[in-house]
């Protein structure tokens, strides 16, 4: 069975690509054959975060148009077994992403025995985001702890409940969970950001994880290695926990409280 997961947010720049890369890498690390697809036509980014930008020959649109077959388009990760990347196209023509074309690619990946297909959605609630979400079996909604991001996530949740193939077929809402990223407990305490509880209360969906605001994310994207591979970092650990929860494990949430108590706070901070 293949599970198609869309990573979406509504608002731009909240951490979808960072999350897609971490989630796909984490699943593959655990032995699940996974492909991560960049749906952000024209603004490709995922290949940079995955550190494979210098090996891109073909892209999603090439595969859809039949310029290349799926095997040619997929880039195999050099660090993690069972991990594949399908980059976005630099072409400006967003119309190249037809639903039929995307379906064909997804079917091809299923035939290759992929267990997970992670779809990194572009920002917005327009066609690009809807195309990335259309075939999804599950959604991960990435949100930052601020009002506009939460509002946009709420909006996208409403759209998901009617605009996926499952919804159109009357099979109901796809499950959606919340990944709260760039969380800064200090700023929450100062009242500059919404707290986890506030966001959970507004969005009323399950919490997959809380990723702290972290220098490690910037270092990771500069070095082209998904932050989850930086297993000593706070963000790396938080993504590792999120992957475990995604696979059904119960894990307490960490990094929710300010670190001013030093090591003690780290160890006992999580409620």
């Amino acid at each position: 069975m293949t599970k198609i997961v869309v990573v979406t947010s509504g608002k731009g720049g909240v951490g979808k690509t960072t999350t897609s890369a971490a989630l796909a890498t984490g699943l593959a690390q655990r032995g699940h054959k996974t492909t991560v697809i960049d749906f952000d036509v024209g603004l490709r980014n995922l290949d940079l975060i995955m550190g494979c930008e210098r090996r891109v020959v073909y892209d999603l649109v090439n595969v859809i148009n039949g310029d290349a077959n799926l095997k040619q388009g997929l880039i195999k990760d050099k660090r993690v077994e069972d991990l594949f990347i399908l980059p976005a196209s630099q072409t400006r023509d967003k119309d190249a992403l037809t639903l039929e074309g995307v379906e064909k690619v997804l079917e091809g990946l299923k035939d290759m025995g992929m267990e997970y297909i992670i779809c990194d959605s572009p920002a917005g609630i327009e066609k690009g985001a809807l195309t990335a979400a259309y075939f999804a079996d599950e959604a991960v909604v990435v949100t930052n702890p601020e009002v506009s991001s939460v509002r946009d996530s709420d909006r996208i949740l409403g759209i998901l409940s009617s605009k996926t193939r499952k919804a159109e077929r009357g099979e109901g809402d796809i499950p959606a969970s919340l990944l709260l990223t760039r969380y800064s407990p200090e700023r929450v305490e100062r009242g500059e950001m919404l707290s986890v509880e506030d966001v959970k209360d507004i969005l009323a969906i399950d919490l997959l994880g809380v990723i702290p605001e972290s220098q490690a994310v910037l270092n990771a994207s500069n070095s082209g290695a998904p932050v989850i591979l930086d297993s000593e970092s706070d963000a790396g650990k938080a993504y590792e926990d999120a992957v475990a929860r995604f696979l059904g494990e119960q894990r307490p949430h960490r990094f929710l409280t300010a670190n001013k108590k030093g090591l003690f706070g780290r160890l006992f901070g999580a409620q």
Partner: protein, 236 residues
């Protein structure tokens, strides 16, 4: 009056759009139109005479611009409160602008049968009185309309809109807008477990977030209309 207040008033206008009447014209002949419309207006209740009207054409394909202008003049001359022209592939917003009208798409609008003598309570649309129950969150950008009462068992987000001809019950947090009695029923009420609304309205009388009584904010409340005044009471 602050700028913010004026902006909220625009939102209220959106709520009232549902109360517009569509006048479907099957013929544009000014004489026939004059005769039949004046007859209808004489019979109609005051609210119908005051209602904002959208003109829709039964045969927009062949509509002659001059005939259309004459028809619109005739209606205006009779005091019909024309506000817009129904837009379709044959009538665009330029045509409407030429007539001094706005342009509205009626696609997705709801047909509500309207009798000529509409005592508000006496009208019985097919599913009037039917209670709509929603158990999923109502998210920003979503709108729910009930011909009768509306019961929501999940949170209602900022940017979501609840509309009911009858009462509205929200057994959770109400952060969006709730408009009860949208067809004029002044006995409609709003009940909610936690009031954090952007706007509440009963039969067109409304309060925006800023004007909600402080002591009822984030509390369980029961809202009723007393003349033109909105009354808030604890639900406990």
């Amino acid at each position: 009056m602050t700028v913010a207040f004026e902006e909220k008033a625009v939102l209220e206008f959106k709520g009232r759009m549902l109360m517009m009447t569509v006048l479907l014209l099957k013929d544009l002949d000014p004489n026939t139109l004059h005769r039949q419309v004046s007859q209808r207006l004489e019979d109609a209740a005051q609210w119908l005479r005051d209602a904002p009207v959208v003109v829709d054409l039964a045969q927009p394909e062949g509509a002659d611009q001059v005939a259309l202008m004459a028809a619109v003049d005739t209606l205006r001359g009779l005091g019909v409160n024309l506000v817009a022209l129904a837009r379709n592939e044959h009538l665009d917003s330029d045509t409407a602008a030429m007539l001094g009208l706005g342009s509205i798409s009626l696609a997705g609008g709801r047909d509500v049968p309207r009798s000529a003598e509409p005592a508000p309570q006496a009208e019985q649309p097919a599913d009037a009185g039917h209670t709509l129950v929603i158990d999923q969150p109502v998210r920003s950008g979503q709108q729910i309309y009930s011909r009768g009462d509306l019961i929501v068992l999940a949170p209602v987000s900022t940017g979501a809109e609840l509309l009911a001809e009858g009462h509205i019950h929200v057994y959770n947090t109400l952060r969006g807008r709730a408009l009860a009695g949208v067809r004029g029923d002044q006995s409609a009420r709003i009940f909610c477990q936690k009031l954090d609304a952007e706007l509440v309205s009963i039969a067109g009388i409304y309060r925006v977030a800023e004007d909600l009584p402080e002591q009822h904010r984030k509390q369980a409340v029961h809202i009723t209309l007393d003349g033109d005044a909105m009354r808030f009471a604890d639900l406990k």
